[in-house]
Amino acid sequence: MNDIYLDNNATTKCDPLVVEAMLPFFTEQFGNPSSLHSFGNKVGLALKNARKSVQKLIGAEHDSEIIFTSCGSESDSTAIMSALKAQPNRTEIITTVVEHPAVLNLCEYLETEGYTIHKLKVDGKGNLDMDEYKSLLSDNVAIVSVMWANNETGTIFPVEEMAELADEAGVVFHTDAVQAVGKLPIDLENSAIHMLSISGHKLHAPKGVGVLYLKRGVRFRPLLRGGHQERGRRAGTENVASIVGLGVAAELALQNMEHENTVVKAMRDRLQEGILAAVPNAFVTGNPDNRLPNTANIAFEYIEGEAILLLMNKMGIAASSGSACTSGSLEPSHVMKAMGIPYTAAHGTVRFSLSRYNTMEEVERVIEAVPPIVAKLRKLSPYWGESGPVENPEQAFAPVYA
């Protein structure tokens, strides 16, 4: 039996059509797109097509609004640093407590450089408080950076509405849409979003290529200066093969948008319902009514995520966890902490993230496999009795901190 891959929010498999389109750019089509001769010319044309295809996927008004970068993280850094450089008198940043480290760690670093970082809190379901957001918008704010969809829970933020508010207040609005692009329809021409980050490897393009969308007219300062590539906004000879791959992936994502939101969503729903029906003391984290169609994050109480993943891996099932152990840190995922999920559940969260390559048959196999794994680990757990949690679990087992 084939292994089952349910970790598509971490990265996705390259679509075979993407790989096929890329191959010539490692062999015959090796020219530098900046060169005048015919070797470079055709390559330049391929870049142009890729740009058009990305433009179409996110509904950008102009293809010159698409800047190719090396990854989602570079796009995030470019956006935030540009806003700070272009407006040196503005020293505040608004973001959220649940951002990806690509934004959060940069902001923490900027804090040590003297910037003020406002991190919007979330409630138990991972939703923002819009009043808190409104109260923070001011002339001191250089940029708002809020993710479109959360990578751990799939919870969607109202970024279009938030961008309107920022735009009215004269504040630059950036969104890390790495998890949203390809899964949700996006129409940037008719939105107030000024900057948006994409990462190729989350939508079946290769790793190491990304995009920063930059609305025409928004003041910009490059992160990498040097050659005139990307109209001088991102120096460095283009990663042509990967950009071509991303172009094809964007086209395929647009074609599969409906599939993602019907078939993939139905598989996700079946998976979640199947597991919750068979496993007691388990619940969905984040906002189940407003999230990505491919993601279900389930907390299994009183057991730890890495142990779950290891046993799932043994059965050929790949997923990921917000436990401290899987990240090598001392605390469970910052997203679970921010939502106030108790430690006994936060360490036992498992993220299942699907793609168009999964099948309903695989989903049924996972539904079969997970309950015995959870039961096996609970039998080892000091919080678990014969057939359920011990009475008053937190008091029955209160270890001395070691």
Partner: protein, 321 residues
């Protein structure tokens, strides 16, 4: 994922002695739910002989926490309590054919559960004195608490110092930014500023050796620094210390040579000169005399004698990891 040994995997997939012992007369509960690892160890001890007849574990934790718990129960069965208490966390890790550095704390938890269970059996109260911080140096598994404590105790002021004392940063060097941030905070707290260069000052390169020598040169005895043998050098160092002692004693202080590690000379300062403003001047003075006498650069490092001995023991334990 993690690089687990086959033995770790075996103990995780098929744990031994899972569950609580029915007639347990010793229980140890340790761990931290915030960190995601906690363990209850139950033992059945024969009162006459204090032999552990049976052991069971219940663990909330990752693969290596479960494997460490399983290993621990296997190791203690049949031992007397006193024998069992001699098991170190390194013994548990060795039993499992090693643990990744990020996971060494799982073996620490096992040993502490054992201590707690024995204390429980003997009607004593077990107090944990072990504090754990985020792992900073992954090459040598050194955490933040250890680094901070060492910086504070020894007034360290460079990444190199931290590496010399704790080994942290001595491997791939990717944690140097983290160590610098800790240094910056700790030095600020004691009123100093941390101002390193971007790269370390290079020592003058030794004259290039020809890559190929046609004739095999005579094997020469390696000359020690300053042209002294190690023994001569040690004598010289001792001599300098002896020379400064009368001065210090006159001020109701004293100085004792503890250890020599390459260019680091560890001393303990006692009496009036320790812990005061004078200490720094005293150290500077001794260092100057030492450099003159030896003809090489050395560093005099004042340390607390008891703490240094403890640290040395710990270093040796990690070094054998």
């Amino acid at each position: 994922m993690w690089d687990y040994s086959e033995t770790v995997k075996e103990h995780f997939y098929n744990p031994k002695n899972a569950g609580a012992i029915e007639e347990a007369n010793a229980v140890g509960d340790v761990g931290s739910i915030s960190c995601g690892d906690a363990l209850r160890l139950t033992l059945k001890v024969e009162p006459e002989t204090e032999i552990i007849l049976d052991a069971g574990f219940q663990t909330f934790g990752c693969g290596s926490a479960i494997a460490s718990s399983s290993a621990l129960t296997e190791m203690v069965k049949g031992k007397t309590l006193d024998e069992a208490l001699k098991i170190s966390n390194q013994d548990i890790a060795d039993f499992l054919d090693g643990l990744p550095p990020e996971k060494m704390h799982c073996s620490v938890m096992g040993r502490e559960a054992l201590q707690a269970a024995v204390a429980n059996y003997r009607g004593e109260e077990w107090v944990d004195d072990h504090e754990e911080g985020a792992l900073v140096c992954k090459c040598f598994a050194i955490d933040e608490v250890m680094i901070r404590d060492t910086i504070r105790e020894n007034n360290l002021s460079s990444v190199q110092d931290v590496t010399n004392y704790t080994k942290a940063g001595g491997g791939c060097s990717s944690c140097h930014e983290g160590i610098e941030n800790i240094l910056m905070e700790e030095m600020q707290a004691r009123g100093e500023t941390f101002m390193p260069g971007a790269i370390q000052k290079k020592k003058a390169k030794p004259a290039a050796q020809p890559l190929v020598t046609l004739e095999t040169p005579e094997p020469a005895a390696a000359p020690a620094a300053g042209g002294m043998s190690a023994f001569q050098r040690y004598k010289k160092i001792e001599e300098v210390i002896e020379k400064v002692r009368p001065n210090l004693q006159a001020d109701r202080g004293d100085c004792e040579l503890l250890d020599i590690d390459g260019k680091n000379i560890y001393v303990s300062l006692v009496g009036a000169c320790s812990g005061c403003q004078m200490a720094a001047m005293t150290v500077g003075g001794i260092q100057q005399k030492m450099i003159e006498a030896l003809g090489e650069f050395v560093k005099i490092i004042p340390v607390d004698k008891a703490q240094y001995a403890a640290q040395l023991a710990q270093k040796q334990a990690t070094a054998s990891a």
